[in-house]
């Protein structure tokens, strides 16, 4: 099957006589502002900045760059692209209006955008579509089949004459004029209507099935020649008259001209010139901000809780990278949040460089020094850093726990969690929400439809589930509250991340310096605590419930832990008395004293393990205790026992028996056991996976345009002098390295002169006519005809080779 581009190729030759002949020429005729707009709309063209306009034109028509440009187009502009591709090159905008069928103003806007992005070019009344665009749109724009010319190209001349006869057209000499005659019939509304009017009902039904695409249908024996009077089936009736054309042994295709006629001359059933409406639900903006601020506060706290838990040694890094599923689930249980939420905190922390592998042989996930730095900043700043990272990262937490192409689970912190489209989608979501009035939320479906209209190609690439997950994540991070954009988060959209953090700060609860102590041995902190108090309480009590408040529970173990860490009973009493708003309950004081009374009564040596105790009755009890038999205790002195087991085993056993021994060092001091806080060596955040290059700043754009202009005028002035001197082409075509080498080898073999374009070491573009003398080691030594000198040119500086006229 031929491509849709092929018919236009013929017509392209007949294209407008005046106006620019190439895209490069078209670009050359544009203003600096226009060029700036092009570079801004297609930022990939600025990396690196092209040398001149010729190169810009070449780069702007590469497949990759065009694909990117198309991805950014909205639904309506893409519909206009479909229509433009249907038309032969050199079309007037009025034909485009006719094919789209909406207000001319809307089409004009789309055409302007396409021209700005160099997807359409040429004079206003003779527009051309960049060829790569035709290639990328493919053979069936908007579900239309090939043109008759394309579809009938391979048909035998005799068969064509049969068709002409069956259509009641006169026979012609050659195939080309035969096809032209058929095409004329099919583009003539009245005649085609008359022909279709004769079609049996069943044949109309066949056409109705194919008209809105896909244009091909399967039929057995489609390529058998059928005459009109021998047609027995509806399909055969159509085939005999070329209203359907065979597209293979078992397939038929509806030619484009026929389809357009049946579509009433329109390319699309429904043109969609405007994005779908966003239904809006309004909340009190203050309530939204309060709610979101609560989530923001929780977000910071969750990340801290997660990394604090890994401070004493995190889970292992899998050999293939990432976090094991079991450790991941464990983290979810530890934080008491759903797995999807843990994935979010983990991935954001990772993307921010707060957690990394420590690089040791048995590699573990540990917080990085950046974590300590981050933690020392105010909560608002901490949140801003998280939110900003989330917005920019290519990592997609919602992929964690899904299955990859090979049906293996995707793990957190692994290598499969990156999606280059993610940052752009997040930015668009936020930008759309931020554009709504304060406190307004919309529903996910409408938002999705809205965003899909804006970038249908991209939207199709990111699964809907991931999109929905992003909305949930924005809520969890406190960027939105009840789906409405939080007021303080608005600077985020413009990239002023830390401003958002500052705006959040006044909404955060003030840290408290007191708790409420109760007789059931709990302490309730009715809000976030100042850091020191939180730390001391974490030491002396277990956390039972978190949220707006924290509930701590004092137990024998927790008090013992505090004593083990070097606090005395007096310290604890003091802590409780100073920070309690209410009298310290008697059972709590009693608990502290009771644990302290027993704490350290038994001392266990590290070397060889001995047990010392002032109370020899207790040692007697211990000796007699069957549960202690495994320790093989012996009495050394009235107050000293020795154990065969290692000290840690002894400690554990004694504690299990309900005693409160402490470890003793060789010099007789108490050994304080406080879990060490561990960190990785310095680590930077992981590099972003290359996706969209960042949008260039205005200064950069201006500089780029200036540079291109300068390079271009240098190149064209050289070419112009060459034209004057030798009448050679103005521009040397750019050839690839391989083509350059081939051309030079051929010229070398034939001792033929060729044009070469050469960029000097200073970056000046020059052109010379040379006879290559020697080709080796990436250099060509050649005789330059203009000056008669012999020069050596590095191959990589040769931009193109052309035959001398």
């Amino acid at each position: 099957m031929t491509t849709a581009a092929s018919p236009s190729r013929a017509e392209a030759d007949r294209a407008a006589e005046s106006g620019p002949r190439t895209l490069a020429e078209d670009l050359r005729g544009r203003t600096d502002a226009d060029l700036g707009a092009l570079l801004c709309a297609r930022p990939d063209l600025t990396t690196p900045v092209p040398v001149d306009l010729t190169q810009l034109a070449t780069r702007a028509t590469t497949r990759a760059s065009i694909a990117r440009a198309l991805e950014r187009l909205d639904r309506f502009t893409l519909q206009v692209v479909d229509a433009a591709v249907v038309l032969p090159d050199g079309f007037a905008p009025s034909r485009l209006h006719a094919l789209i069928g909406t207000a001319p103003e809307e089409v004009r806007r789309a055409v302007a955008a396409l021209r700005e992005q160099a997807l359409l070019w040429g004079p206003d009344d003779a527009l051309r579509v960049v060829r790569t665009v035709r290639d990328l749109v493919g053979a069936s724009p908007a579900g239309l089949g090939p043109t008759l010319a394309g579809a009938l190209a391979a048909t035998a001349p005799s068969r064509l004459q049969d068709v002409l006869a069956d259509l009641g057209l006169g026979s012609t000499h050659d195939a080309v004029s035969a096809i032209a005659a058929i095409t004329d019939l099919c583009t003539d509304r009245a005649r085609l209507d008359a022909l279709l009017g004769q079609a049996p009902e069943a044949a109309r039904e066949v056409l109705d099935k194919l008209v809105w695409g896909p244009p091909t249908g399967s039929v057995r024996g489609a390529d058998r020649p059928v005459r009109a009077d021998a047609a027995r089936t509806p399909v055969e009736w159509l085939l005999a008259r070329a209203l359907l054309v065979p597209a293979g042994p078992d397939a038929v295709v509806l030619p484009r001209e026929v389809a357009l006629h049946l579509r009433g001359g329109r390319v699309h059933r429904t043109p969609l010139p405007t994005p779908p409406e966003l239904p809006v639900r309004g909340f009190d903006p203050q309530a939204v901000d309060d709610l979101a601020a609560g989530s923001a506060f929780t977000a910071v706290r969750r990340v801290e809780d997660l990394l604090e838990a890994w401070s004493a040694g995190g889970p292992p890094v899998l050999r293939a990278g990432g976090l094991g599923m079991r450790d991941f689930k464990r983290a979810a249980v530890q934080l008491d949040v759903p797995e999807a939420e843990v994935a979010l905190w983990l991935e954001v922390a990772y993307a921010m460089g707060l957690v990394a592998g420590d690089g040791e042989p048995d590699e573990q996930w540990l917080p990085t020094p950046a974590y300590d730095t981050w933690r020392r900043t105010p909560v608002g700043t901490r949140w801003a850093a998280l939110a900003g990272t989330w917005l920019e990262t290519t990592r997609v937490p919602a992929l964690v726990g899904t299955r990859d192409d090979k049906d293996r689970p995707v793990g957190a912190l692994g290598t499969q969690v990156d999606r280059t489209a993610a940052p752009e989608v997040r930015r668009r979501i936020l930008a759309t929400l931020a554009a709504l009035p304060p406190g307004s939320a919309t529903d996910a479906d409408s938002l999705l439809a809205h965003l899909t209209w804006h970038q249908p190609i991209r939207a199709a690439r990111l699964p809907e589930a991931l999109f929905r997950a992003m909305l949930v994540e924005a809520e969890l991070l406190g960027i939105t509250g009840r789906g409405a954009f939080a007021g303080y988060a608005r600077p985020l959209v413009e990239g002023r991340v830390y401003e958002a953090g500052d705006a959040l700060t006044p909404l955060l609860p003030e840290p408290l310096d007191h708790v409420l102590l109760q007789a059931d041995l709990t302490a309730v902190a009715p809000g976030p605590l100042v850091m020191d108090l939180a730390h001391e309480l974490h030491l002396a009590a277990d956390v039972e419930s978190t949220g707006g408040a924290t509930v701590y529970r004092f137990t024998e173990e927790s008090v013992r832990r505090a004593l083990d860490a070097g606090r005395t009973a007096t310290d604890l009493h003091h802590l409780l008395a100073t920070h309690s708003r209410t009298p310290v309950p008697q059972p709590l004081s009693y608990l502290v004293d009771d644990v302290a009374r027993r704490h350290g009564r038994i001392r266990v040596g590290t070397a060889g393990a001995f047990l010392r105790c002032d109370d020899d009755a207790l040692l007697g009890e211990l000796l007699a205790d069957r549960r202690a038999a495994g320790l093989r205790l012996r009495r050394l002195a009235p107050t000293v026992l020795a154990a065969e087991s290692a000290p840690d085993t002894v400690l554990e056993k004694l504690r299990a028996m309900g005693l409160a021994p402490v470890a003793e060092s060789a010099t007789g001091d108490l050994v304080l056991t406080r879990p060490d806080t561990r960190r990785t060596p310095p680590r930077s955040a992981p590099p972003r996976v290359a996706g969209e290059p960042p949008t260039p700043t205005e200064a950069l754009l201006a500089a780029a345009v200036t540079a291109i202009r300068a390079g271009d005028s240098a190149a064209t002035s050289r070419a112009d002098t060459a034209v004057e001197r030798d009448g050679e082409p103005v521009e040397l075509p750019r050839t690839s390295a391989a083509e350059t080498l081939l051309a030079l080898q051929a010229a070398h073999a034939d001792r033929r002169a060729v044009w070469i374009g050469h960029v000097t070491r200073e970056g000046r573009a020059t052109q010379h006519v040379v006879i290559p003398l020697r080709l080796e080691g990436g250099y060509v030594t050649a005789h330059e005809q203009g000056t008669g000198e012999i020069h050596t040119y590095p191959l990589h500086r040769i931009t193109g080779v052309a035959e001398v006229g």
Partner: protein
């Protein structure tokens, strides 16, 4: 930022700051849908559970109200996920409804076809339902009315039961309000129950649950089956009913191990109903022996599992559950909800106490230091003997004796688990002992003597844990118990919480051996009592004199 008294935690607990000026209003607002879990002095903890939310739905509250209450009283922004969850959970109740169809009989209908599809796909549903008469209606086998409610609750789509009740055999019953009248909350409880059809009334010990039962019977005016925990309790129900209603002794039957009377009002014990011989329950006939109009379950939280099964078949009769707590040690709160009914009335324990109906109690844990010989013996004891050893140590006996001495002139109960210890205490204190082998007659005689004050100290075993009424006990001393059960604690505390004539505070002692497993169990009790909001102190036995 609003400064509400309520803090909503991420684990769905609600913390209520009691000292806050808006605390009382907030408490009233959240009580219908949140279960009070702990009520220590400053911050009370409520929990949002699906059952609690469904109870609220059954009582006519909707999600919008609940969300509004949370938002209005919360000090910090409430996580949206939690609000969504509340709305979603509450929305599940009543999507399915059991009702009586004029031609098809008992049917399950839905307002949401997808839900019906979902539950019908469950294997457990298959044997319970018949043909689907239309897309939204399916016939339910009449015998499976209880089963289907249990299954649907487990599937997370509790059904509302509109299938109605049989009136049962009518029997005239009136309250005899001579010189007394129903308290306001009792009246509310009865109205809540009657309006809801079936369900559970939650009232603390001593708040007059028997009267709520009597008033419900007077409203139903029908034959009634009352299920109680044991024989003593049965007798008390009987005497209370005779005293408070128009019923005579002859109209009330006792169906227990010793007597098998079936009368218009019949009181049966759980034990006799659940007796099993050769795999069958011989006393099941009791349920069918009359056309009961009302079934009353006393102490629902102790209801044995087989009774749930029988109850599943009694869904057409009105059912009233009475209890001090919905919390069951076995976690079968769901069965209570689906088979007996949703909570119809709940009064916060402490609030009723503040109204003066229950005496406040002062809880004291007395720590006894074991002698060196005792400690050595304790360390060498077999693991299964350890608790018994430390709980019955001789040191305790001395302390108990001291305590009883201190409270001479007050009605004192000594409660324990081990018969040897109780006998020894009885001897030392020169007090009668009530234990399992004591006959009912003897028990009643001793209780009467205790009530009149003829006996001032009584040593009782765990038989005292159940529905006995000792109105004048002001001091209870617990020497040993069965492994720190919360249930038992509530019961024991209930013993001394009865209103006192002179408004004096009650004293509840636990005597505990220091540094033993006994102390660990005591920690459970301490937590439970403190969570119930009772003052709790720990003193060393040597300091009792100085600190009391």
């Amino acid at each position: 930022m609003p400064d509400g008294p309520l803090i909503v935690q991420s684990d769905k607990t609600l913390l209520l700051e009691v000292g806050h000026e808006a605390a009382a209003e907030c408490r009233r607002a959240i009580a219908p849908f949140a279960e009070l879990e702990r009520a220590p002095e400053h911050v009370h903890t409520y929990r949002l559970t699906p059952l609690g939310l469904w109870n609220a739905r059954a009582a006519g509250h909707d999600a919008e109200q609940v969300v509004d209450v949370l938002l209005r009283h919360s000090r910090y922004p409430v996580p949206n996920a939690l609000l969504v969850d509340v709305a979603e959970t509450m929305g599940r109740y009543g999507r399915l409804q059991l009702s009586r169809h004029p031609t098809h009989g008992l049917v399950l209908t839905t307002t949401d076809r997808a839900v019906l599809e979902e539950v019908l796909r469950s294997k457990k549903m298959a044997p319970l339902v018949g043909v689907r008469v239309d897309p939204d209606t399916v016939i339910v086998h009449p015998s499976e009315r209880g089963q289907i409610k249990q299954v649907l609750l487990k599937l997370g789509w509790p059904a509302e039961d509109f299938a109605g009740y049989v009136d049962g055999e009518a029997h005239p019953i009136e309250l005899a309000e001579d010189g007394w009248s129903l308290r306001a909350y009792q009246q509310e409880a009865v109205e809540g129950f009657w309006h809801g059809g079936s369900g559970v009334v939650v009232l603390p010990c001593g708040a007059g649950k028997t009267l709520v039962g009597a008033a419900a019977m007077a409203t139903a005016k029908a034959t009634t089956l009352i299920l109680v925990t044991n024989t003593v309790s049965a007798r008390q129900w009987k005497s209370e009913l005779v005293k408070r209603t128009s019923l005579t002794e002859d109209e009330i039957g006792e169906y227990s191990g010793t007597r098998k009377e079936i009368r218009p009002v019949t009181i049966a014990t759980y034990q006799v109903v659940t007796t099993r011989r050769k795999g069958v329950y011989p006393h099941l006939e009791l349920f069918d022996s009359r056309d009961w109009g009302l079934i009353v379950y006393d102490e629902v939280h102790l209801l044995p599992a087989p009774i749930f099964r029988f109850t599943a078949d009694l869904q057409a009769r009105r059912r009233l559950g009475l209890t001090a707590t919905l919390v069951r040690e076995d976690g079968r709160e769901g069965d209570v909800f689906s088979l007996i009914g949703p909570k119809r009335y709940d009064a916060p324990w402490k609030e009723i106490e503040n109204q003066g109906y229950i005496a406040p109690a002062d809880c004291v844990e007395v720590r006894v230091t074991l002698t060196e010989t005792e400690r050595l013996a304790y360390a060498t004891a077999e693991p299964e003997e350890r608790y018994r050893f430390c709980a019955t140590t001789a040191s305790k006996t001395r302390v108990v004796k001291d305590l009883v001495e201190r409270h001479r002139g007050e009605q004192t109960l000594v409660i324990g688990q081990y018969i040897d210890q109780l006998d020894e205490l009885g001897e030392v204190l020169n007090a009668p002992v009530i234990k399992g082998e004591t006959t009912n007659k003897e028990r009643e005689r001793l209780f009467d003597a205790f009530r009149t004050g003829a006996v001032q100290a009584l040593v009782v075993s765990k038989v005292a844990n159940f529905s006995i009424d000792l109105p004048d006990a002001t001091v209870a001393i617990q020497v040993s118990g069965s492994f720190g059960s919360r249930q038992e604690e509530a019961q024991r505390l209930g013993r001394v919480l009865r209103p006192k004539a002179d408004g004096r505070g009650a004293r509840f002692y636990s005597v505990v051996a220091r540094d033993t497993i006994d102390q660990d169990f005591a920690a459970h009790r301490q937590r439970f009592l403190a969570e119930q909001g009772y003052a709790y102190r720990i003193v060393d036995s040597d300091d009792v004199d100085t600190q009391m």
